[in-house]
Each structure stands twice: as structure tokens, then as C-alpha cells.
Amino acid sequence: MKLLIIEDEAGLRESIEAYFTEEGNICETAYDFSSAMSKVNLYRYDCIVLDITLPNGNGLDILKHLKAGQQADGVLIISAKNSLDDRLTGLDLGADDYLTKPFHLSELRARVAAIVRRKAFNGNNILTLHEIFIDLTAKEVKINQTPVKFTRKEYSLLLYFIANKGKVVSKSAIAEHLWGDSIDIADNFDFIYSHIKNIRKKMVEAGGKDYIQAAYGMGYKFTEA
């Protein structure tokens, strides 16, 4: 897929770019309003990761410009502003999703993947990966044509892993993805392990491969190998 990252903070921009640039993804970047405008005017992207506060302009104006030109680019807003008004303004203007800083790159990746899938499959949301077949609309998972029952959290975790395949996903990122802020009361993430154990078990029992590896004590990795 082809992405545009509009973010003025160099450190963050580079990290996002580095995280996304793999497996044939094309990642372009813009650091201010005018360079972003010229890019969106010249090229089309599967998804635009858009920071709202930019030098010389507001990211929401870029969004308005895109919508005025009836461009189909997916837009994900990233902002340090967490106020609901900003969020609603962004979504009302036609953004596909809104992510508050700070976030885990794996979370961003999962959200972008979801946007791109929605745009690409036009409602007919089917995700396949080797023997894994996921109907995103019905939230059904089949492995080698055998339906496998996943709980809501297991299903969400599986999608999260697939969106970040080949990447090490930290335990704290998984915890935040599944439980949100309320996870701060847990003093260990043991129950992440039990969810992952369940996913593995269900997949292997249905005749699939075990794709999930523990990654040096700090997280997990979904590998295709």
C-alpha cells in the first residue's frame, strides 16, 4: 500500500516511516502544510496519516481540501489534542479514524490496515493469509475452511497481529490495544499470555500453523515463516 505521513515532528515521522516501509509498502512523508498540500494534489494514497498541528497550517484544512476534491484517500488523524470536539470535528470532516498521541506504532499500523481494507474491499471485507480466512464483516475466522470460535478479545488480537506481521509487538502495546487505559491497575500482563496461548491452541487444533512467537521477553511476533 501507498502511504503519506504528514507529521512535523521529525523523530516521530522517521519512526512511522521506518515501521511502515517493508513488504512493498511505499511511504512518503511531508513535514509542513505546503509540502503536504503539494503531495496530496499530485498523488493519490491508500491512507494519509495526518497530524493536525502543522507549521504554516492546520491539518484539518488538508482534510477539507481532500474532501472538497472528492478524493478517496483514507485519512487517519493523529493529534496530541484529545478533546472530543477535535475528534468529532475530524471525523465529521470525513476522516476515517482518529488516534491520540502518544500511540504505539503497532496500533497505528492496525488502524491504517483497517482503513485500507475498508477502502479496498468496499464492504466485502475478507482477509486471507495462507490458511487463515477472516470475514471482517461477520467477524468469523476459518482455518483450512474450518470455522474457529474466537472470543472478542482473541479476534481483535489476531487482527492486530496480522496487521503487524513480522513486527515485534510489545506487551504494553497489546495491553493498551485490548484494554485501553484501564490496564494500568495490572501489575503484570500474564493474561496476555493466556489469550495468546488460546489463539495458538485454537489455530493449531484447526490444522493451522503456529505463527506467534515470543520475542525476547518483551513481546510477541507474528511470523509467516
Binding site: 515532528e9 523523530g11 516521530l12 519512526s15 512511522i16 521506518a18 515501521y19 496530541a80 489534542k81 484529545n82 478533546s83 472530543l84 470536539d85 468529532l88 491520540t100 498521541k101 502518544p102 500511540f103 504505539h104 506504532l105 503497532s106 472478542r152 513486527k167 515485534v168 510489545s170 506487551k171 504494553s172 502495546a173 493498551e176 484494554w179 485501553g180 487505559d181 484501564s182 494500568d184 491497575i185 495490572a186 501489575d187 500474564d190 493474561f191 493466556s194 489469550h195 520475542a215 525476547y216 521477553g217 518483551m218 513481546g219
Partner: protein, 419 residues
């Protein structure tokens, strides 16, 4: 004691003392004047006797007139002329009356006579009594008049003061209301009013600046935290780490997560306090609680905490986001401060939400906990949870109560308090 009462008390007691002293002085003065008057009459009587003796060379015939009596008694020596207080026996009523007498002597031929002229002073005494009584009545009326006028006039005069005082009592920095000016014709009160107005405005400005600073600081921190977080995410992709290294990385992750939550809570609190969250809607609390229970499912399981619920349908008009925060904060507190194998009981009806949990700490000092960054030493939280809960409740006029009984902490949110 109120200024008015204190003033009245002093004023009236001073008045009474002065009046009493005046009354006593008055009494003795009048008494002296009237006695002097009687003495003069006695001297006139004495002179008449002398004149009569000089003219007729015998004693006058004695008539007993009303309230007066003249007694002649033969005497051997010349008696020293003097005035005395004595008593007089009334001829008709036969009772003793106070009297004044002059004792003197006269020579009738060779015989010396002692003359005693007694004049009853009963009328004088009556007069003095009357005067004294009138004085007392006057004092009494004066005191009452003073008391009433003080109460009425002073109360009215101090009215601006009490108005200002009441405004100060209800003055709240976080509220939008300012202190209204209280016009007054009294210079002191006008000055007080101006000083209070200036002070309130300044306090409010400072407070707003401070809040704006908190919000901006928290905002500005988000970007560097984002960078750290993203760099960490990138770093863990780079390769194999040893156990100590991965432990370090995990610690950094957790610390950054903690920093993020702290920052978010501060921002949220500032926003609630500033009334910046406006997405009021009908929130189904039963649904909300169910979602929360689902979120906490594994955590409850891992701590072996039993959840007892009794949920009726309840809808409130509030921000969904804030109600989520309220419910989640109360629930996570109930989990965090619970015992392994303890219980949490959640009861929801149309009036209130009651969350109680078993706990080890004993009673908590709730007013202290409601303050920012107050937490027990065992707590892993950031110390803003209950402050946020209370602020949310304040915002919607809910009443947040805490009770502790039989090792059970209970938080109750009453929804219908001020509706």
C-alpha cells in the same frame, strides 16, 4: 458573636451603668435639696417661736398641725442648736413617718426651754420616690429604644457587608461566576467591595492561567512522549536482546505508559474543570457497566476477585466519555484496593450506582483522597482517579459518597440529587 450583638451588649450595659450612676446621684442630690428646703421651713418656724416669745414673754400655744409638731420641754442647760432626722407619729393614721426636726432652746423669763420642731418629710420622700421611678422608667425605655434602633439601623447599615461576605462564602475559583459589585453609601463598604472585586478577579485570572499552563504543558509533553514511544517500538524491531536488556526495555515501556496516563488524566481533569466537554447525551449505564466488566474480566480472574452485580436499567444525561471514566475509575479502584479472593459488589438502580469492595486498608480519609495526587503507599495509580470522579460528579450535580463498614469500602453515586 455577631458584631451587632456584641455592639448592642456593650452599648446597652454601658448605658445601664451610666443611668444607674446618674439615678443614684440624682436621688441624693434631690434628697439633699429637699432636706435643705425642709430645714429652711423649720428655721422659719423657729423664728416664729422666738418672735412670739420676745413679744409675749411666754411660750406660744402649741397646735398640732398637719405633719408638724412643736414640743417645748423645760431644760437646765442651753441645748446646742441642731437639725436631726427623726420620725413623726401621724395623728390620724398613727403610723411612723420619716421626719426632720430642729432642736433649739429659748429663754422664757428665768426658765430655759428646749424647742423641738418636727416636720414630717413623707411628702418629700414620696416625691423622691416618684422622681426615681420616673428615672428608672426612662432608663428602661431608652435602653429598649437603643436596642431596637441598633438592631434596625445597624442591620440595614451592615447589609452590604453581609452581602459581600455571603458572596465570598460561595466564591469558587473553578466556577464561572464572578463576585457581583455591592453598591453602598458607606465609604468603608465601598472600599471593601472594590478590594474584594479586585482580589476575586485576580485570583480567578491566576487560576485560569495556571490551568491553561497545566493543559498546555500536558499537551506539549504528548509529542516528546510520542517520539519516545515510537522510537522504542522501532528499537524492539532491531534484533535480539539479552534478558537484562529486554527487562530494561519493558521498564521503559511501562514508565512511558504511566507518563502518558498521568498526562492524559491531567488534561482530562483540566478539561472537566473548564467545562470543555460538551457531548451530553443519554448514557445507558447498564450497558456501560457491562462493557467495563468485560474489560476487567481477566484482571478479576487473575486476582480471583468475585464480582456480584445487580443491575437495573438506568439512563443519565451526561458525556459518554466522562461516564466511562467515572465507572472505570471506580471499578479499577475497587480492584486495585481489593484483597486476593475478595469481592466487588456493583448495584445499579435508577437513583444510584453503588460499588463496594472488600479491602485491607481500613477506613480511608476521603477528603484527602479526593485531593490531587493523594494515594496510599501501596497504590500503583497516579492519584488522580478519585479527583476526576468527584469533578465529574460535580459537573453533573451527582453526589459522590464514601462509606466504610465491616472492611468494605463503598462508593455511591447519587444521580438525582440536584435535578
Amino acid at each position: 458573636m455577631k458584631l451587632l450583638d456584641k455592639y448592642n451588649r456593650i452599648n446597652i450595659s454601658v448605658t445601664v451603668v451610666i443611668m444607674l450612676v446618674t439615678g443614684v446621684t440624682y436621688y441624693f442630690t434631690i434628697h439633699a435639696i429637699l432636706t435643705h428646703q425642709v430645714d429652711k421651713a423649720l428655721v422659719v418656724e423657729e423664728r416664729e417661736v422666738f418672735d412670739y416669745v420676745q413679744l409675749n414673754h411666754h411660750l406660744p400655744q402649741v397646735f398640732r398641725t398637719n405633719h408638724q409638731e412643736i414640743i417645748f420641754t423645760p431644760a437646765d442647760d442651753r441645748v446646742k442648736r441642731k437639725f436631726i432626722d427623726t420620725s413623726y407619729r401621724d395623728t390620724k393614721e398613727l403610723d411612723l413617718e420619716p421626719a426632720r426636726a430642729i432642736i433649739t432652746s429659748v429663754m422664757v423669763g428665768p426658765q430655759l426651754y428646749k424647742i423641738t420642731v418636727i416636720q414630717s418629710t413623707v411628702e418629700t420622700e414620696d416625691l423622691i420616690e416618684d422622681v426615681f421611678l420616673i428615672t428608672l422608667i426612662l432608663i428602661f425605655i431608652l435602653v429598649i429604644a437603643l436596642f431596637l434602633s441598633n438592631r434596625l439601623i445597624l442591620r440595614r447599615m451592615w447589609q452590604p457587608f453581609y452581602t459581600i461576605l455571603n458572596q465570598l462564602k460561595v466564591f469558587n475559583l473553578a466556577e464561572d461566576k464572578t463576585v457581583a459589585s455591592v453598591p453602598s453609601t458607606i465609604d468603608e463598604f465601598t472600599e471593601l467591595d472594590q478590594a474584594v472585586g479586585i482580589m476575586a478577579t485576580k485570583a480567578k485570572d491566576d487560576y485560569l492561567n495556571l490551568k491553561a499552563f497545566t493543559e498546555n504543558a500536558a499537551h506539549e509533553l504528548m509529542t516528546p512522549i510520542s517520539v519516545i514511544n515510537s522510537k522504542l517500538d522501532t528499537l524492539v524491531q532491531t534484533g535480539q536482546f539479552s534478558d537484562p536488556q529486554s527487562k530494561l526495555l519493558n521498564d521503559i515501556y511501562n514508565t512511558v505508559a504511566r507518563l502518558t496516563r498521568l498526562n492524559k488524566s491531567m488534561l482530562l481533569l483540566t478539561k472537566i474543570e473548564n467545562g470543555l466537554i460538551h457531548d451530553q447525551q443519554i448514557v445507558n449505564l447498564k450497558e456501560l457497566l457491562r462493557t467495563s466488566f468485560y474489560q476487567y474480566e481477566e484482571l478479576l480472574g487473575s486476582l480471583n476477585i468475585k464480582l456480584i452485580t445487580q443491575l437495573a436499567d438506568c439512563e443519565v444525561s451526561a458525556s459518554l466519555l466522562l461516564m466511562e471514566v467515572l465507572v472505570n475509575n471506580l471499578l479499577s479502584n475497587a480492584i486495585r484496593h481489593n484483597l486476593p479472593g475478595g469481592t466487588i459488589s456493583v448495584v445499579l438502580d435508577q437513583q444510584q450506582l453503588r460499588i463496594s469492595n472488600t479491602g485491607k486498608d481500613g477506613r480511608i480519609d476521603i477528603e484527602r483522597v479526593f485531593k490531587r495526587f493523594q494515594k496510599s503507599s501501596a497504590s500503583e495509580g497516579i492519584g488522580l482517579g478519585l479527583t476526576i470522579c468527584r469533578q465529574i460528579c460535580n459537573n453533573y450535580g451527582f453526589d459522590l459518597q464514601y462509606q466504610f463498614s465491616e472492611n468494605s469500602h463503598q462508593f455511591t453515586v447519587n444521580f438525582t440529587v440536584s435535578e
